[in-house]
């Protein structure tokens, strides 16, 4: 019997290989980012140092294929090393999605980056200023920053012209912790949103637009669903607005500025913050901005300096509560894709946040960053290539 099973397995394998041999090979994409830093907390409630923080290090593997009728299909699988204090394990699969697109439409399904932010800021790690840069996940315990950044997503995007994006999305945001140490079993929709964005493609940066990006987004967490919030029979609304301005789009000495504001409408009856649960549901306004200078010798980035600042206020609380943060960092390129970096960040907490995080935190990080983005077996052009944008689109 076992021999028969083996025979069938072998036959199956042969058929599979034959099938595969007849296929058109896909485009293969590999993205990798290694972030290694030595961290030391100069001040703060939990003065710690870390000889080697490699969170945010990750791999992305993608496959793309031409489909019938000018459509393209893509699969992406990505893994990341989460923060050391998270409960996500050694490796977290932060991206696992399929994408179907044509010239003006994109459908994305799977685990991916949620639209909790509209733009990226020049911080060493994605979550260095998370309370200011992202809408916080109200279903999370706050233990894992990834809960705010990644979720199970279904997103439909429509492109108008070459620069106007309308995105309608629904998510299942991770709920943590699960009761009794069990795994999450309910993956139903718990957030919806819509975003409208004006975005100049990166390839046209040397057309020197003053406005690089403008965005407006509306996120609605369905906290009134059974099992999510027994206490509050409402939905939680967040509104985001963002802009990227090219102050001086000079090929040698490049300056830009980024801004984002998040208004969390919150729940009227939250008057104090004792837990992360309250933090995500209290009414708040957060603003975050960055100023970035990039020196590009011989048409490649050579060094970058950025100064970012954020302020968040909770107006409805009994105790006046706010927080602010300053981050400055410097990257120096040692060669292709490889940077040395140093980052200094300082955060201050007032009111109810003091009891959660202490009065302030100051952290210094020295590190190295290596990042690549490669494609093999290229078969077709990108929507945003200069040929497609300025010389007629070829599907």
């Amino acid at each position: 019997m076992n021999h028969l099973k083996k025979l069938y397995s072998l036959l199956g394998l042969i058929l599979f290989i034959q099938g595969a041999a007849g296929q058109v090979s896909p485009e293969i994409q590999l993205g990798a980012r290694g972030v290694m830093s030595f961290n030391t907390d100069i001040s703060g409630s939990q003065k710690t140092s870390s000889v080697n923080d490699f969170s945010d290090t990750g791999l992305l593997l993608g496959f793309r294929q031409k489909l019938y009728s000018n459509f393209r299909g893509q699969m992406v699988i990505g893994m990341q090393f989460p923060d050391a204090n998270s409960d996500l394990g050694q490796v977290f699969f932060h991206q696992t999605f399929l994408q179907l697109e044509n010239r003006n439409h994109v459908l994305k399904m799977g685990r991916s980056r949620v639209l909790s932010t509209l733009i990226e800021f020049p911080t060493l790690r994605d979550d260095d200023a998370l309370p200011f840069t992202d809408v916080l996940n109200p279903f999370s315990s706050g233990e894992n920053t990834e809960d705010n950044q990644y979720g199970n997503v279904i997103e439909v995007s429509r492109l108008f012209g070459q620069r106007y994006w309308l995105r309608v999305h629904g998510e299942h945001f991770t709920k943590t912790p699960q009761s009794g140490g069990t795994s999450e079993t309910d993956f139903s929709l718990n957030a919806v949103g819509i975003a409208f964005e004006y975005l100049v493609p990166e390839t046209q940066i040397w057309n020197r637009p003053f406005v690089q990006q403008l965005g407006l987004s509306f996120n609605n967490f369905l906290t009134d669903r059974r099992g999510y919030s027994a206490q509050l029979d409402k939905t939680l609304i967040n509104i985001l607005a963002s802009a990227i301005i090219n102050i001086k789009a000079d090929p040698l000495y490049f300056w830009d500025a980024r801004f984002q504001a998040i208004y969390n409408r919150g729940f009227d009856d939250i008057r104090g913050i004792a837990t992360y649960y309250d933090l995500t549901r209290a009414r708040s306004t957060a603003v975050f901005g960055s100023l970035r200078f990039l020196y590009r010798k011989l048409e490649r980035p050579t060094l970058q300096w950025a100064l970012s600042a954020g302020y968040k206020v909770f107006p409805d609380l009994t105790t006046a509560t706010s927080q602010w943060q300053l981050i400055s960092n410097f990257f120096y390129r040692l060669g292709e894709n490889f940077d040395l970096t140093v980052q200094l960040q300082h955060a201050r907490f007032n009111g109810d946040l003091k009891s959660l995080y202490g009065r302030s935190e100051t952290r210094m990080q020295f590190g190295m960053v290596y990042s690549i983005d490669q494609r093999w077996n290229k078969q077709f052009d990108d929507r945003n290539s200069l040929l497609n944008l300025e010389h007629g689109y070829i599907p």
Binding site: T203, W206, R208, P251, L298, E299, E336, L387, H391, I394
Partner: protein, 396 residues
């Protein structure tokens, strides 16, 4: 449709790629004329023949449904044919409408050295929006071509080539093999993925550089040109060149051509050669690509009458010739064997389109006076619903 049936049907469609219409019909002949470069008409300025060429980015449909972005002289690939007489004074006004740099090299012509089109050797590149005037006397007689000499690997593959024919009133070829009709076939090979990636890279880079030019900060270091060999060697030592690239953006692999064109088209869009019984036709073959082609004509031994434009003293007969990159070879085909014959690269990797046969530089020599009854099919084929020969892709 069941999966098995679907697969079988797909296979039949591939194997039975039909020619566009009947080769002997008037519509095919009319369409065929468009598959040869048109002759650019000069204007006369005194005794100087003045031609206008411009270069722009253009979309070229290599086969139905498959388009690529190209660099096209006067919006066509190949560029228009320039045809003059030996000894004519020629002026070519070249306008660069792209955001890339270019020059024109007159391949095989004995032009003054400052007219040779080699950037930084004989002239500065013709930069975006600029115009350059080439002036020379047309010599020697024969089949030549012109092409861009800037970023040659990319720019020639992208379509920057065209035929340049210098006629001789005392042409020994015509004397020995009287002919009325002649055809020009320009061969090329394209790695369309390399083309796309490299063109995008260069366009991005040039946008940046044009801004530097406008603000007067574009220096030789950024442009990778050097005043002396020592400067260049120092730059290499300091990591300028591969593998320690500093400013390179283009793909780092050499192109591997996957499309093979004749006059900018691949089979089934390649042009046909028409002939009648007892007629001589002259075919001017130009290899403007990077690959060698071993061109073989079925059913005939043609005369090889010129090499690099120069008439050979003793034409010889053969049925397969080697057309190396940069070569031009003229042949005379004598109409001695009525039928429809294939003329193709015998390195059959080049009769494919992106690896699929049939395709590439496959084309046909067609006798116009072929009686219809000779194209009839047998009963079996008629039962299959087929009409007449040739019904399938021209086979080698």
């Amino acid at each position: 449709m069941k999966r098995r049936t679907f697969i079988q049907a797909s296979g039949m469609i591939t194997a039975g790629a039909l020619l566009p219409g009947t080769l002997l019909g008037a519509p095919f002949k009319a369409a065929n004329k468009q598959k040869y470069p048109y002759v650019l008409e000069p204007t006369l300025d005194g005794d100087v023949k003045e031609f206008h060429l411009f270069i722009d980015i253009h979309q070229q449909e290599i086969v139905p449904g498959f388009k690529i972005h190209t660099l096209a002289f006067n919006n066509q690939v190949p560029g228009p044919e320039i045809r003059v007489n030996k000894g004519d004074k020629v002026r070519v006004i070249f306008k660069n409408k792209t955001e890339l740099n270019h020059t024109i090299h007159w391949h095989g012509l004995h032009v003054p050295w400052r007219m040779d089109g080699v950037p930084y050797v004989t002239q500065m590149p013709v930069m975006p929006g600029q115009e350059f005037i080439y002036e020379f006397t047309a010599e020697p007689a024969g089949t030549h071509f012109y092409h861009c000499h800037w970023g040659t690997l990319l720019h020639m593959q992208a379509g920057m080539y065209g035929s340049f024919i210098i006629e001789d009133p005392d042409d020994p070829v015509r004397s020995r093999f009287p002919y009325e009709r002649e055809y020009t076939l320009l061969y090329s090979a394209h790695d369309v993925n390399f083309l796309r990636e490299e063109m995008n890279s260069m366009l991005e880079r040039m946008k940046e550089r044009m801004y530097m030019m406008k603000t007067g900060r574009f220096n030789k270091e950024r442009f990778a040109v050097f005043d002396s060999k020592k400067e260049f060697e120092d730059a290499v030592k300091n990591g300028y060149q591969p593998p320690y690239v500093v400013n390179r953006r283009a793909p780092d692999e050499l192109p591997v051509p996957n499309w093979f064109t004749v006059n900018g088209k691949s089979y089934p869009s390649t042009p046909a050669l028409f002939i009648t019984e007892d007629e001589n036709i002259r075919v001017r073959l130009i290899n403007a690509g990077t690959e060698e082609h071993y061109l073989h004509l079925h059913g005939h031994d043609f005369w090889q009458v010129a090499d690099d434009g120069l008439p050979v003293p003793y034409p010889w007969q053969r049925n397969t010739l080697r057309l190396s990159p940069g070569k031009t070879i003229d042949i005379i085909i004598e109409g001695k064997n009525r039928g429809i014959w294939t003329f193709h690269d015998h390195d059959t990797r080049r009769v494919t389109n992106n690896g699929l046969y049939p395709g590439g530089n496959l084309l046909a020599l067609v006798y116009e006076d072929l009686p219809a009854e000779e194209t009839r099919l047998n009963m079996m084929a008629q039962k299959m619903g087929l009409k007449n020969l040739p019904i399938v892709a021209l086979d080698e």
